[in-house]
């Protein structure tokens, strides 16, 4: 009887240990010490060629830094990237380094979530800190301190499918219209409508928008000189006359001319399902096995003239990370002149010395020198970054909900835009 009880007690103890041991393993202790450091960077790219490049840079770094046991690149899908990242931070499991979207930059920089990288980058031998373009670092700088390195300054451009345009009977390609100084939103819209009318494919797709991620529409409304809010972020400008004109143009293009796929309709340019798409040039890797001939031109000009838009991404070191200095040292290596040139294949660099046609052409064999000059170099020099705000996450949801009534035929554009301002005014002033 006693043996049986002991056996039962042992069984129960085993069950407890099964529960407790894994829990103990979850603790975030840095028992490995600083001589056996594991670094983790959250990224939103799962492109295998990009990941291979990151891993090769990390492997090279580890050869000269035996204290770094491993460097991992933790993929989080872009759709919920910031949500997943902040959840890790809230759960006391922050990464050592993180990519940060431009729209979240003010929130991350002002909150103290990121550490100042300036001292580490400046003291790193051969880093050439002064080579960083001030326009590129502006969003990530506060009080003269640099809180993230803008590793990607990627202009938006208009990709087009030459084969599909020809099939639809379009005689003048976007490149020809650019050369003739007639590359306007009106002409682009007519072209897209013609494709939709004469083929079974779609005309123009504003990639990643999908009637939800409205911030992508900045590529259009900046052509009208409109913006989401004032430069200080305090005043809503969705109800401005310029924005009304831009959104009316977009609404007519969708619901009258069918130049863009309607809500709930999907089309992927890179799969040959639309003739034109607006996206960042870093998406060009999707054309590696393209089944059609393609071209890329800058964004069309609107009534306010040509206005280029830039998406940015920064790499920051998390304040709550366990190995801040080691992480900052790795960022300094990851983004030095030599590695920046390697990364330039996918991510346009923030270094003035590398923003030349010759340098970019080496890293981007898919583009012609003319395309790199027109879209990348001129885009970075003249473009403005997508809207960002300290309260960006909350505002993004509010705008999305308030814009929903616009995405139906017969919507009152002015009334909807006034509703957007009413919805976000309190959040802007916070």
């Amino acid at each position: 009887m006693r043996t049986r009880r002991l056996r039962l007690a042992s069984l129960a103890l085993s069950a407890v240990s099964l529960l407790v041991v894994p829990l103990a393993g979850c603790s975030n202790g840095s028992g490995s010490g600083d001589s056996n450091v594991s670094l983790r960077m959250t990224v939103w790219s799962n492109d295998t060629s990009q990941t291979a490049l990151f891993n090769s840079i990390a492997a090279d770094y580890r050869k000269t830094h035996p204290d770094i046991a491993s460097i991992s690149f933790d993929y989080l899908p872009i759709d919920n990237y910031t949500t997943a990242l902040t959840t890790q931070i809230a759960g006391s499991n922050p990464p050592d380094m993180a990519w940060v979207l431009e729209r979240d930059a003010p929130d991350f920089v002002s909150s103290g979530a990121l550490t100042d990288l300036g001292p580490t980058l400046k003291k790193t031998a051969g880093y050439q800190y002064d080579d960083l373009a001030p326009a590129a670092t502006k969003l990530w700088t506060q009080g003269g301190d640099l809180y993230a390195y803008p590793f990607s300054t990627s202009p938006f451009g208009m990709f087009y499918n030459k084969d599909l345009l020809a099939k639809a009977g379009v005689t003048r390609t976007p490149d020809q219209l650019v050369a003739d100084h007639q590359w306007t939103w009106q002409n682009a819209e007519k072209m897209a409508a013609q494709v939709a009318a004469h083929t079974d494919k779609q005309g123009l797709v504003i990639r990643d928008w999908d009637y939800k991620t409205w911030i992508e529409l900045a590529a259009l409304w900046r052509g009208w000189g409109a913006d989401a809010w004032s430069a200080d972020g305090k005043t809503c400008e969705f109800d401005s006359p310029k924005m009304q004109q831009a959104m009316t143009f977009l609404h007519d293009a969708i619901f009258k001319d069918k130049a863009l796929p309607g809500p709930g309709e999907t089309a992927d340019f890179f799969a040959g399902e639309s003739a034109l798409t607006i996206t960042q040039i870093s998406r060009a890797t999707l054309l590696a096995d393209h089944p059609f001939t393609w071209g890329i031109v800058p964004l069309p000009a609107g009534p306010a003239g040509a206005s280029q838009v830039i998406g940015q991404a920064g790499i920051g070191v998390m304040t709550k990370g366990s190995h801040k200095q080691q992480a900052a040292d790795f960022v300094a290596y990851f983004t030095d002149a030599a590695n920046s040139a390697k990364l330039a294949r996918y991510f346009p660099p923030a270094r003035d010395s590398q923003l030349t046609t010759a340098t970019l052409a080496k890293a981007n064999p898919m583009f012609t020198p003319q395309q790199l000059q027109n879209v990348v170099i001129d885009g970075i020099k003249t473009g403005s970054v997508l809207p960002s705000h300290q309260n960006s996450a909350k505002i993004a949801n509010l705008v999305q909900n308030a814009l929903d009534p616009m995405w139906k035929s017969g919507a009152n554009v002015g009334s909807v835009l006034a509703g957007v301002c009413k919805a976000i005014a309190p959040a802007l002033s916070q």
Binding site: A9, D107, S111, E265, K394, N401
Partner: protein, 315 residues
């Protein structure tokens, strides 16, 4: 014959050889073994249920900035914010409509299917399997598939177009979006309730139905006056589980509509997610979660209290 002494008496037998043996009396050993057995479950409950529950209540009375890590006491500010939030009426409307539609359609359809499949006909097993199979399919895979089908240029509208019907923009329409989410959820889970009803129907004694038939009761009268009361415990169970489940539907909303258009499908649990995880406002999100918990608790208690009025127990 030696009289068997109770455990307490045996445990206190004076001639124990050592101090430790005196401490480990039979009663204490029983108690200790008992605690060891319940310890894993108790630890799990404390760590993964009670602690988070207390933490959420605590968090609901604070404001916290996830990025800076600063947390401040806020009193009832978060609850007040919920009352005055312009989105609250839309969220409340979506939650109530979703809950009612889901419960009525799910329970009604499950019962109907169970009655139909309770007949002794060829092929009923095939249909039972067919209706139950979505229950074992991955929720996310199921919902993503429906997401493709429900697009404006998706499979369902293509089929409708083939027969000359212009289908609505299912996931973007003001009314069709909620209907779509309800339908996807009903088809996912109706099989489970159907199986429960089927088991209950097969437990209804034939003698009662025959007696009712002899007394002149028709099929509908037999169903209403004999079958329904006899399966009422199952109806109570399925109703409680379905109502509770309807208030916790998240993945379907996230994948299909993200709460849109214009908050038409933004039910309370999704609203909680948006506030806590999208907007990084854990304090406000926690207040929403506490309100949701209270609603589910009250609804469950009310149903439990009302069971005596409509649930028939043979015992």
């Amino acid at each position: 014959m030696e009289k068997i002494r109770p455990a307490r008496e045996r445990a206190s037998t004076p001639h124990r050889p050592s101090g430790s043996r005196r401490f480990w009396t039979l009663r204490r050993r029983d108690t200790f073994s008992g605690w060891l057995f319940v310890l894993p479950q108790t630890l799990g409950f404390l760590a993964f249920v009670l602690y988070p529950l207390i933490a959420v209540v605590y968090s609901s009375f604070h404001t916290s900035n996830v990025l800076s890590g600063v947390t401040k006491y806020a009193g009832t500010k978060n609850y007040s914010q919920l009352v005055h939030d312009p989105a609250t009426p839309s969220v409340a409307r979506a939650t109530v409509l979703f809950c009612i539609a889901l419960v009525v359609i799910n329970i009604g359809l499950a019962l109907l299917l169970a009655v139909l499949l309770n007949q002794r006909l060829r092929g009923t097993t095939v249909f039972r399997t067919l209706f139950f199979s979505p229950v074992v399919v991955s929720l996310v895979a199921w919902t993503i598939t429906w997401n493709f089908l429900l697009q404006n240029n998706g499979g369902i509208n293509s089929m409708l177009h083939a027969v000359g019907v212009d289908g609505p923009n299912w996931l973007r329409g003001d009314n069709s979006a909620l209907v779509s989410v309800v339908i996807v959820q009903v088809f996912k889970n109706v099989g489970l309730n159907m199986v429960l009803f089927l088991a209950a129907l097969q437990g209804v004694p034939r003698s009662l139905l025959e007696a009712a038939a002899i007394d002149g009761a028709g099929p509908w009268r037999r169903f209403r006056s004999v079958v329904l009361p006899m399966i009422s415990p199952t109806t109570l169970l399925t109703t409680i589980v379905t109502i509770s489940g309807s208030l916790q539907v998240f993945a379907q909303i996230q994948i299909l509509t993200e709460g849109g258009p214009s908050n038409r499908t933004n039910v309370l649990v999704y609203f909680f997610y948006q506030q806590a995880f999208d907007n990084h406002d854990f304090g406000y999100g926690s207040a929403v979660a506490v309100v949701l918990f209270a609603i589910i608790l009250v609804l469950t208690l009310v149903q439990w209290r009302l069971r005596k009025k409509w649930v028939f127990y043979e015992s």
